[in-house]
Point group: C2
Chain length 334, copies 2
């Protein structure tokens, strides 16, 4: 039988109004009682239904957003989309930068709970078990933006990374390239690492090109890492004519490395990126890339969280938005 707020109050040996306050204005409840109530909620798996939730929880009309690295231009488009949807739905956004640091991420979940956010958007990082448990503990509705978690039933909005990577590499092959290197995220990155590498291999396989693991190099997150990875890759593989970079920032790092070594793009090497960040069209040469609809991912993730908060469930659990090959100047026929 589903437990009620009365059960929680009884179990924790506090009044119903204290339970309500723990969910509504936790700062006003002393630590000791608050912990007891949270424990009771957990033990009894108490979950107010959509309607009761509205009665019990006070809506703050604020959503918490977790971003791994606010300095990375990839997130700019996402945040812009979230912002516009939030304005439309009359929510405020509170954005926190986690630096992909576990302790900090978990601390922010607690902070968000204390600030009484109505829900959380968790962006672009792997959903570690600890994060999942922490959000469950506080009963905070949350959705994943630009990431997903196959192992849990959490609403998510992102793209098909493997298919995007496949199309990027196919584009290079159709331009006549056969020796195609890759600058990849570490494969441990469940979203941008493994699936994009799988797409690269799939395209090579489909066109009967032997995949040589020498022709891939790994970079952490940033321009400078890709610049250094290029140095290692080109020292090893002198016959490459094209590079699939797993992000636009990586593509810029590759192009800068080549340019610093007297090789212009696309004359001497074709380079395709991934993401279509704002800079992709400002860069010289303008980047050929796979467009991720970051604005739409941001916008939809807020709508989805709103749906989850309002209805207690979402119509579509895992939403994949369409990506698109954008051909500009950094790739050419050979």
């Amino acid at each position: 039988m589903k437990s009620t707020i009365r059960d929680v109050a009884k179990y924790a040996n506090v009044s119903i109004s204290t339970v309500s306050r723990v969910m509504n204005a936790p700062d006003t409840v002393v630590e000791e009682k608050r912990v007891k109530v949270l424990e009771a909620i957990e033990v009894l798996q108490y979950q107010p239904n959509g309607f009761a939730r509205g009665l019990i929880y006070k809506k703050s009309d604020t959503l918490g957003v977790m971003i791994p690295d606010i300095e990375n231009p990839y997130y700019a488009g996402l945040i812009r989309g979230m912002q516009d949807a939030a304005v439309m739905l009359n929510h405020s956004l509170m954005i926190c930068n986690t630096d992909r640091d576990k302790k900090r991420t978990i601390a922010y979940v607690q902070t968000f709970f204390e600030k009484q956010v109505d829900g959380i958007i968790f962006t672009s990082d792997s959903l570690h078990e600890e994060y999942y448990e922490e959000m469950q503990r506080y009963r905070l509705p949350f959705v994943l933006a630009s990431t997903n978690a196959p192992e849990y039933d959490i609403p998510s909005v992102d793209i098909d990374d493997e298919q995007g990577a496949y199309e990027a590499v196919k584009h290079l092959i159709e331009l006549g390239h056969r020796r195609i290197g890759m600058i990849s995220f570490p494969l441990g990155h469940t979203i941008s690492g493994e699936p994009r590498y799988a797409g690269y291999k799939k395209a090579l396989l489909e066109f009967g090109i032997v995949h040589n693991t020498d022709e891939i190099e790994f970079a952490e997150h940033r321009f400078e890492h890709a610049y250094e990875a290029s140095e290692r890759l080109f020292a090893r593989c002198s016959e490459l004519t094209a590079i699939f970079a797993a992000s636009d920032e990586f593509a810029m790092g590759v192009i800068s490395y080549l340019r610093d070594h007297g090789k212009s793009v696309p004359d001497r090497m074709s380079v395709i990126g991934f993401d279509n960040i704002r800079m992709a069209q400002m860069f010289i040469p303008k980047l050929t890339t796979i467009d991720q609809p970051t604005y739409d991912i941001g916008y939809r993730s807020v709508e989805k969280l709103h749906e989850l908060i309002t209805n207690g469930e979402v119509a579509v659990l895992r939403e994949k938005l369409p990506h698109q090959l954008v051909i500009r100047e950094s790739t050419r026929m050979i």
Copy 2:
């Protein structure tokens, strides 16, 4: 005589604990009483002193940050610095994107108050009278980062924009340039507009170069605006050999325009930017620019807000951090 919490309670006809709750956990006080208390606070100009504030206000260890346009890479460095200082001082940051929209900015002040932030950092926009009044109304301590407000005594951290612009243009003159155009922010931008234009004029004057108002064009905020402004400027002034762009994004817009019209930088035109955003050294050519210590501005602004919250005052009201000319590839001797 200074008014006390007792006076406020009496004036508002509520208990002292209600006044305390309005400051501490406003969500737990019904709207009607809350408004009465806030009015009383305003009328009596009630301001708890540093020590009493600590007793009355509950510290949330959260700081609110207002950013005008999170898509603009200029803010990335600032936010990174704020983040690091916040971690060091054990604060969480809540970041909001205002879009320079007055209604939204004012709504965020209210939201921050309700979320019980300890203070606000207001970034890089003009401090309009309405903003000032709203923050006063809620007695929220705040500091200005990358902006300042000569008309109020508000702690601020920024650079000397006029001097920075002066040094940028002086660099061009020392390279032999005499016909120097400018892509400026609208002069109504009190920080990045007027002072940078003043620095440009000052340098020309000092070297006996006649300032021709034809040689300046205005752009709003972004790359594409600068691209369009370049079109207007070069259609009018064909003899320019150098451009001072009031931001790095503007410099990239100018360089892209020139490049799309067959003129390479710096061979056919020298271009200097302003800010030294992360992209400045990724761009091709790498930008010569005026480095703003954005990380330090962010870091110091959090430290300053912490000082203000802790002590009720700051040692240095208006802090100017050092900028620096960074010579890279986009300017050359003629």
